[in-house]
């Protein structure tokens, strides 16, 4: 995220390049009008509710169940991606195989494919008579319209975050270190777990956090496959919409504020992780 790091160290006393005032001014004005002021509105509104008001909304069983599902499923999906993401990145950085370029492009699909499209496609695949669902059904595994479906959708949207964060770090990793480890008698497994993994770990954590944050707030790809049964497979963003449709603005705001606070804490954590990674390994990019 904070990709700006080293380059700005030289400090030109006074830049000859024009346009600082106007570009920064425009950026700040646009940012404030579109993003900051509207977001602040959520907090003003929820401040009006007071802690008790927020707690009253959030502690109702239905909201608690929805928050638990959103955060729980997002955590599981991010964990799945934290296993398969580095594996995919490793294969793409280190091995050759036919169709590599094609699959490399496919990884970005969840970035480019609209969430509603992904949602109905996944539902069609995993429903009882779908291409994948028909094989799972005899085994007693139901995916569509259950919390498992929520996890599948969240895994879909989260994967590129992990792969695309880990991949460049693996590409930059110095192979001399691996050779040194091998010369010193390390087995390949020892080299991977003790030399490569620590290098990749900060990026992996960042990717994990990004995938998690995205999955928590995800709406479009989840609501089709989830079935949206209250208390079972109803996610928090859907509950916000339901409250809005009932004109319960206070309730919607309370849930939104809770989710925002949790997401922003995550964002801070990501930045902290990157700072830590930069200090530790000197390539936090």
């Amino acid at each position: 995220m904070t990709t700006v790091s080293k380059a700005g160290r030289r400090k030109p006393p006074r830049s000859v390049i024009p346009g600082f005032g106007i570009t920064l001014g425009f950026t700040l004005a646009y940012l404030s009008l579109i993003v900051l002021i509207p977001l602040a509105g959520v907090f003003f509104k929820s401040a009006g509710l007071g802690w008790e008001g927020i707690w009253h909304v959030v502690s109702s069983p239905r909201v608690l169940a929805a928050l638990k599902l959103s955060f729980g499923a997002a955590l599981i999906a991010a964990l799945i991606n934290a296993v398969f993401g580095p594996l995919v990145a490793w294969v793409f950085v280190r091995y050759r195989f036919p169709g590599k370029r094609f699959f490399d492009a496919v990884i970005d699909l969840p970035f480019a494919l609209p969430t509603a499209v992904a949602g109905i496609a996944l539902t069609a695949l995993y429903s009882a008579n779908g291409w994948v669902g028909q094989f799972l059904e005899p085994l007693g595994i139901k995916v569509a319209f259950t919390p498992v479906g929520v996890i599948v959708a969240m895994t879909f949207i989260g994967l590129p975050f992990v792969v695309r964060t880990v991949q460049p770090v693996l590409e930059e990793a110095e192979k001399e270190l691996e050779e040194a480890a091998a010369t010193l008698g390390a087995s390949r497994w020892q080299t991977i777990s003790q030399v490569i993994l620590p290098t990749v770990l900060p990026a992996l954590l960042t990717g994990f956090a990004l995938a998690f944050a995205r999955a928590v707030g995800e709406y479009g790809s989840v609501i089709f496959i989830a079935g949206n049964l209250p208390m079972v497979s109803e996610i928090a963003p859907l509950l916000i919409i339901i409250k809005l449709e009932e004109f319960d603005y206070a309730g919607a705001t309370a849930i939104a504020a809770t989710m925002l606070v949790l997401s922003f804490s995550l964002l801070l954590m990501i930045n902290g992780l990157q700072a830590w990674a930069r200090r530790r390994h000197g390539h936090g990019r």
Binding site: M1, V4, A7, G8, K11, V16, F20, I22, T23, L24, F26, T27, L31, I34, V35, L36, P38, L39, G41, F84, V93, Y95, R96, F97, K100, R101, F102, A105, D108, L109, A112, L113, P114, T115, A116, V117, I120, A121, A124, L125, T155, F156, L159, P168, K175, A182, R188, T191, R214, G217, Y219, F224, P237, L238, Y249, T253, S263, L266, L267, N271
Partner: protein
């Protein structure tokens, strides 16, 4: 549409290895100490390919098969349906306003951030990224809280007979919010890497600021810029959650394509829903195709913006 999508798809699998970092590969193949045995390599590759096919490729393929399930005639008539056509028109309008505005922001934010030193720069970058970590539904909600009937500006807007919520301006606002960071995110690392020497040279030779940007900076960032615009556009046209909150779902008036998909799907007209979905999936394929092409042709220039 499906046909044109197929034309884009074969990002040539022929020249397989060339996307890999060149200095690594030949050495890796020979040096047994820093690579894995063949069976491990092939197992890992197999797992990765199966995982990607099952989780990413299969949903994409199923969009087109479901769309064409009832034949091409049904497909075309589903798209020619008036409500669907009006949703396509609205989606195009929203993207046509949101993308240029975010392009302007992206370029000026990247210029300010990469060509100058100032305090609070990293805070500014984090703030630009903010919309990424906000749930789309919350992105819509914030505008309801402002312009809704009980909102801060609600009464004022109503008095002046301005329609924002449940109308085009609300949809545009929500779209801008959600796609806000894309172009800036693509440009900042790229322009960071290129530094300011070329611009300084041009300026010292007497070029004006605008000429410098147009003739020196822009040619260096044009491919990154193009990809940022494409990605921003794909998200703008496909945005669902945020737009769903502010649109009001008035058929034929405030439904964008993703909302039209939802309505058709909930009415059990599955193949019509998938027909509209296939248009957006085609757009996603074009976006990815162009991205691969750009990376393949101009890999070095884009290297800095590889990750986002």
């Amino acid at each position: 549409m499906a046909a044109s999508a197929n034309e884009v798809r074969p990002t040539p699998p022929t020249d397989a290895g060339s996307s890999a970092p060149p200095p690594f590969e030949p050495l890796m193949q020979r040096n047994a100490a820093i690579t894995e045995p063949g069976w491990v390599r092939w197992t890992l590759t197999g797992v990765a390919v199966v995982f990607l096919s099952l989780f990413l490729l299969l949903p994409l393929v199923s969009v087109f098969t479901e769309a064409l399930r009832n034949g091409v005639g049904a497909y075309l008539s589903a798209i020619a349906e008036p409500d669907t056509l009006s949703s396509i028109r609205l989606t195009l309008i929203a993207a046509a306003i949101a993308v240029p505005l975010n392009l302007l922001l992206g370029v000026s934010a990247a210029w300010a951030i990469t060509k100058f030193e100032f305090r609070g720069k990293s805070v500014l970058i984090s703030l630009i990224d903010l919309p990424f970590s906000v749930s789309p539904v919350v992105s819509g909600l914030i505008y309801v809280l402002i312009f809704g009937r009980q909102g801060y500006l609600g009464p004022w807007v109503a008095d002046h007979d301005i329609k924002i919520l449940f109308a085009v301006p609300g949809i545009v606002l929500a779209t801008i919010f959600v796609t806000f960071p894309f172009i800036a995110r693509e440009l900042i690392p790229l322009m960071q890497e290129q530094g300011t020497e070329s611009e300084q040279a041009a300026l010292s030779l007497g070029a004006s600021g605008w000429q410098t940007f147009w003739h020196v900076t822009l040619p260096n960032i044009k491919w990154g810029l193009l990809y940022g615009v494409l990605l921003c556009n794909a998200r703008a046209m496909g945005e669902f959650g945020a737009v769903s909150v502010v649109s009001g779902h008035i058929r034929g008036q405030t439904n964008t394509m993703p909302l039209q998909i939802e309505i058709l799907y909930n009415e059990y007209s599955f193949s019509a829903a998938f027909a509209v979905a296939s248009l957006l999936a085609g757009l996603a394929l074009v976006t990815l195709g162009v991205k691969s092409l750009l990376e393949w042709r101009y890999g070095d220039e884009l290297a800095a913006s590889r990750r986002h």
